[in-house]
Symmetry: C2
Subunit: 450 residues, 2 copies
């Protein structure tokens, strides 16, 4: 069995240009080149885009980046290579030898033997200027080019890493052998999106998840809404308490963050340093503390006793607004806080009735996090057929939801699940203020640039 | 750092019911229980749905399935446990001891100490009958329940496994340490779907992929079309030949199939045995042979010389129809065949001009496979700005595609990519005739049952 890595190695060696010294120069990524320990003249070819040019009397320095890492590879060339075409933004192929760098800034540099400009870049027309740090708002105007900047590169590498981490949270690689005494197994599932559909699957598989684009026609220009966003949804059968559900939510949040921190520390550092000073400490604070749990009723009490004046007066039975969410998180010491047991009248029909009173609640849970507000929403689902029938009848939905009632008629089980907005999650760990900067092509009201 | 497996183990041991013998019974999945070697009275709790009930004079046999494997766990109980509620389709929680089974049919069985019916199932109303093998067409009427059958369970487990295999083809787990001498690295990316958008990303990252739902308003009732299907798309920068692109396509096809075969052999076997006899050999034949390559021009010649009469007369410049695709695959010995270099007039503006003549072609490639026809479509992309400008001008699209031209103005690179229909891929490896059976909730023209 040959993996992608193997294959690409093979095809690269096939297709590399004939080499003057008879040994073909292996194509390597910038990340690969930078990772070489004790470089000793290995002949390689590197391809990428020029991020900087510095021309000295006898030497020419280029920095070449191919998106594989934040760091670029320093190319050192004889000044005879100098040409106007070697400009910021051009694509190049460089053949040469990997050597130990005399500078402390990097371990390795590439001594160029051959530099080919693959595609020119007209510096005057190119919207990004050499050595300038453009604000995120400016970059947002160029959705087709902004991924070529350091900051978007880092954000998108983190996005990719977080995506992989979420997949492996739910589906540990089957190549990892489970020790015999640990005979737990998590069957998981990718399905089309939608919680009710996940519930269908959870009637046959005990843990299911889905991760994909979700569309909302929300007429909002906020910093935390998009018309198309990505959502992680999970549903767990034979689950009987919100406590159990919250453990999975907290673990998903923390495991994913720790994987990202360990796999792309430099990308995270760039965001923390230049975009969100102080975010490093805030994230550590979130990761090392247990998330808090308060009931909706307690939350309303806290808000009523607040010295702050709210635009929307807090009141039992009313929805929590962004201003309330922010206050609650602050009040809880900037630790993510689960708010549980919401008024029945506020929540959809499928949430499990707590059968309490006189203030009637359902077993719903939202996770509020610093900076972003609501990140997760979940609940136990109503698995008791007669409760659901009554509720649907009152809403006049009985006919449309026969199929949903069927799930309770035939081998019903207690179950619960949640959804997490993926872009908000990235905002939360990186400290990125505007949701439009953590998705490659943001679509929002009256705007679909690409 | 605690993984999902760890966490669920923790929460399960927290929430398990108090155990009469003071040692809590660990919750295990059916797959986990079946995997126990030399069972020796381990006390466990298993939850799932009853797949069969057999009542003998003094003993009661149940088969319990929770979706974690095709095989169910045999539960052996004293006949005093017998009750009308223990019926096909009911959900149960069984506590007991895992013991070696005296039967050769299974290694392990569960000696029940306690059986709790969690949710009843009215056998008369339940659309699936005990011990009956319902045809796929019949099951299709019950999209909310069909995942509870053996065959859909198997198909969906294969779907989940293939999804994971595709992700790991493009993004090998970062936990696997790459040996030092192998310093190739594949940066990959999940983005919104769409080839032109992937091209944007490939201007900064050298290998990108996306895998998600795609929507087509095709008015087709065929066995291989859906209004919503899943597509894998990849784009590779600095790639200069169709040969290189085809190597990646062939490798994706074969690596994914081999991973699925090795990770869920029983599920694949069930499909091959009951749905598509002969498919096992057909798949092996595809996997062990190199895929073939013919040009479009050669393909038309082959079709012209065919003894068969086609509804659409084969002619240079006309599209290949399903009947042609089928003939070509048959002609090539039922091995997948790449058809390359299509007439320029048939293909979209972004495909790379081969600058040949008088029959003008572009560097496009389709992969045709037995049973399904077109599975992959791809091409080299036109990276030369003036070629693209001319083509867009002739189509009157210059204004709308300024952003796409920008990608060629600023550091353009040769590149190419492809898309693979995921449902068709599953059809191809499993031998499933109708595409509606390999996706949890099929949406097609005038039908959106769920």
């Amino acid at each position: 069995m040959f993996g992608a890595r193997c294959l690409l190695r093979a095809l690269r060696s096939c297709s590399s240009a004939p080499c003057p010294r008879h040994r073909p120069a292996a194509r390597v990524s910038v990340r690969g080149a930078l990772g070489v320990q004790n470089a000793n003249g290995e002949r390689v070819t590197v391809q990428g885009w020029i991020r900087s040019v510095r021309s000295q009397k006898e030497v020419l320095f280029l920095h070449v980046n191919d998106g594989s890492s934040l760091e670029s590879l320093q190319v050192v060339a004889d000044s005879s290579f100098d040409s106007r075409e070697l400009a910021f933004g051009s694509s190049v192929e460089v053949q040469g030898q990997l050597v130990k760098s005399p500078s402390k800034k990097q371990n390795v540099e590439l001594k160029a033997e051959k530099i080919e400009v693959v595609g020119n870049c007209d510096a005057k027309a190119f919207p990004f200027k050499y050595k300038e740090r453009h604000p995120l708002e400016y970059l947002r105007q160029y959705p087709h080019l902004r991924c070529r900047t350091n900051i978007l590169g880092s954000i998108l590498r983190v996005r990719s890493e977080a995506t992989a981490a979420i997949h492996s949270f739910f589906k540990p690689s089957s190549k990892i052998k489970v020790p015999e005494e640990n005979f737990f197994n998590i069957p998981v599932f990718l399905t089309v999106s939608g919680q009710l559909h996940l519930e269908v699957m959870s009637g046959a598989f005990t843990q299911v998840f889905t991760f994909g684009p979700t569309f909302r026609a929300e007429n909002s220009q906020s910093r935390r809404h998009l018309a198309e966003f990505y959502m992680v949804e999970a549903e767990i059968s034979f689950l009987e308490s919100l406590q159990d559900l919250m453990q999975v939510m907290e673990s998903l949040f923390k495991t994913t963050a720790m994987t990202v921190l360990s796999n792309c520390p430099k990308d995270v550092e760039l965001c923390h340093k230049f975009i969100a000073p102080g975010q490093k400490d805030r994230l550590e604070h979130m990761l090392k503390n247990n998330f808090l749990i308060i009931s909706y009723t307690e939350a309303v009490e806290i808000l009523k006793q607040a010295s702050q004046n709210f635009t929307f007066t807090p009141e039992w039975g009313a929805d929590l607004h962004t201003e309330h969410e922010k206050y609650l998180v602050k009040h809880c010491g900037d630790i993510p806080v689960f708010v549980i047991n919401y008024p029945r009248a506020l929540k959809p029909f499928y949430m499990r009735d707590n059968e309490d009173g006189p203030q009637h609640t359902v077993a719903a849970v939202d996770l509020l996090v610093p900076g972003v507000g609501e990140l997760f929403g979940g609940s136990l689902r109503e698995e008791r057929c007669h409760f659901l029938e009554q509720r649907l009848a009152r809403l006049g939905l009985t006919e449309a939801y026969q199929w949903y009632l069927d799930l309770r008629r035939f081998g019903s089980v207690p179950h619960g699940g949640f959804g997490m907005g993926f872009e908000r999650y990235l905002q939360c760990i990186l400290g990125i203020d505007n949701i439009k900067d953590v998705i490659p092509f943001p679509r929002f009201t009256h705007s679909c640039l690409l």
